[in-house]
């Protein structure tokens, strides 16, 4: 029972959406609206859950003095700081428990929550992924090796696109007469993107859509139940 009832819930909610997708008549539209609204509220609890479990895991690490626990402690402190500042004075135009905290904002230039966001969170978040630029450069030098016809094709396209999307592109192939304009780098790049690339991406999209239909069908009918956890 514990396992079957949730399956019925999944089936019912899925079926309702499917029906509302085809039948415009009352009351299905309204039911769908209610369900999507509920979905949003439950999802926000799910977000809370995600953050709480993350913090819980870090607390355990610190409590058990597992390796590198000091760093996890720093993580917990910054979490707590963000939450306390947010709760007390709010963020941007949203007031907190103590209102807008005009005095502090005056001294800081913005609310404490926004100050941390602008000067610590933003640089951290932006820098994390910029590391990848370096890895691409080093991999370009060491691992992007031509092996066979297929990878040749890939590399040649990559070279055209990379060059074609620079500001040098026009200049490099400007000597090609307009009657052969398609061979000019920017236009060649556009052609590749518009036709062969679109073709392959469309094939991938179509196959993926079939995959979505398959897995959704299995979930709605209760054939696939691994999302409920606890084995197959």
């Amino acid at each position: 029972m514990k396992k079957n009832l949730p399956l019925i819930v999944a089936f019912a909610s899925g079926l309702l959406i499917l029906i509302a997708g085809f039948i415009p008549h009352k009351p299905f539209g309204m039911l769908e609206e209610t369900l999507t609204n509920w979905f949003m509220i439950i999802s926000s609890f799910a977000i809370l859950l995600g953050q709480i479990s993350l913090i819980q895991a870090n607390v355990t690490r610190v409590a058990h003095r597992s390796p590198n626990w000091q760093y996890y402690l720093a993580g917990l402190i910054s979490f707590a700081g963000m939450v306390v500042f947010g709760l007390l004075w709010g963020m941007e135009k949203t007031p907190g428990i103590l209102g807008h905290g005009e005095g502090i904002s005056q001294n800081l230039g913005s609310k404490p929550f926004d100050y941390i966001f602008d000067y610590i969170y933003m640089p951290l978040s932006a820098t994390m992924f910029s590391l990848l630029a370096f890895y691409i450069a080093s991999a370009a030098y060491r691992a992007f090796i031509i092996r066979n016809f297929e990878s040749n094709l890939l590399m040649i396209t990559a070279v055209i696109v990379m060059l074609g999307r620079t500001s040098f592109a026009t200049w490099i192939t400007s000597w090609i007469p307009d009657s052969w304009g398609i061979l000019q780098l920017p236009r060649l790049t556009d052609f590749i993107m518009q036709y062969p690339n679109t073709a392959a991406q469309r094939a991938i999209l179509i196959s993926a859509a079939l995959g979505v239909v398959g897995s959704s069908l299995r979930i709605i009918l209760g054939i696939e139940r691994s999302y409920l956890g606890g084995g197959k």
């Binding site: 539209g29 769908e32 609206e33 999507t36 609204n37 979905f39 949003m40 999802s43 926000s44 977000i47 941007e92 135009k93 949203t94 007031p95 926004d114 966001f117 969170y121 933003m122 978040s125 932006a126 994390m128 992924f129 630029a133 370096f134 691409i136 450069a137 080093s138 370009a140 030098y141 060491r142 691992a143 992007f144 090796i145 031509i146 590399m155 070279v159 990379m162 060059l163 999307r165 620079t166 500001s167 040098f168 592109a169 026009t170 920017p186 556009d190 993107m193 518009q194 690339n197 679109t198 991406q201 469309r202 991938i204 999209l205």
Partner: protein, 282 residues
């Protein structure tokens, strides 16, 4: 020993890349980019929409991709305001709401003050991606009972004429991944018939091209910094994206050179191995 050498080689490559980006930033080469049809299409959508239309700019990204998407957002916002559109900002990513405020502030610094609630409004983030957009298609107010400053839906003049997504003239999603542009295409356009254009990071741009078709699933597409620079060009100003195209172009060339060197090295190694193999067998 060998590991040491690769490590040193790697660090040299890192350093060279840093220089290839930093130097053109300090000494711009004055390179100019050229427009592409996809960006022009997005531009035309904004340009051809009548004055007074209510439109959505959705900020579906976070600070990690500001370099690519913020210039796009600001160029489009500037364009929309110049055409007299009333702009609703939404966000499918929580940090997007902050990005929207940043864009509003920067463009107002250029164009002069706009009135909050009449010319623009920030409705903030809601969780759920596609499901949320589906909800907007049924009833806007259920999804957004208040804006980010706590104003009630009924008290916002701009939203007087907006009951559902169908009352929106176009949606432009600035999208760094999932949820984002794809959800707008599938829901806002394909379900509710609203025109959708998008700006994405370069990573996801090739995957969106199948939607640019005769079904007009996606009206126009801006992919990455280059497209942001193109939009600035169409707006006739040289903004952050145009300036950043200098280091971008130089770095591309550097990567190509690195690939070439790597392949020559590998080819030589293979030839040497072949030779020594022959000697051993011979």
């Amino acid at each position: 020993m060998k590991a040491d050498r690769t490590l040193i080689e790697r660090r040299i490559v890192f350093l060279v890349l840093a220089l290839a980006v930093a130097l053109p930033l300090i000494f711009p080469l004055g390179l100019r980019t050229k427009g592409t049809p996809l960006t022009k299409k997005a531009y035309d959508l904004v340009d051809q929409t009548p004055t007074g239309s209510v439109v959505i700019l959705s900020f579906d990204y976070d600070p990690s991709t500001v370099t690519e998407l913020q210039p796009m957002a600001q160029a489009i916002l500037e364009h929309a305001w110049k055409k007299g559109h009333k702009v609703i900002a939404t966000a499918m990513w929580p940090q997007g709401s902050q990005m929207a405020d940043m864009a509003f502030e920067n463009v107002q610094a250029k164009l002069g003050q706009k009135e909050y609630g009449r010319d623009y409004i920030n409705l903030g983030y809601k969780v759920g991606g596609m499901v949320v957009i589906q909800g907007m298609g049924r009833n806007f107010k259920t999804v957004f009972p208040k804006d980010t400053s706590g104003l009630n839906y009924e008290d916002i003049p701009l939203l007087k004429t907006v009951k559902s997504l169908r009352d929106i003239k176009y949606v432009v999603s600035l999208s760094a991944g999932d949820p984002g542009l794809k959800d707008w295409v599938l829901t806002a356009h394909d379900k509710y018939g609203v025109s959708v254009a998008g700006g994405t990071t370069a990573v996801s741009a090739p995957g969106f091209l199948p939607y640019v078709n005769d079904q007009k699933q996606l009206y126009g597409l801006m992919g990455g910094l280059k497209a942001a620079a193109e939009y600035e060009l169409l707006m006739e100003y040289e903004g952050p994206a145009s300036l950043n195209m200098n280091p971008q172009s130089v770095a591309h060339v550097l990567i190509l050179v690195l690939i070439a060197i790597g392949n020559i090295k590998a080819w030589r190694k293979r030839k040497a191995a072949l030779k020594s193999g022959e000697v051993a067998n011979g």
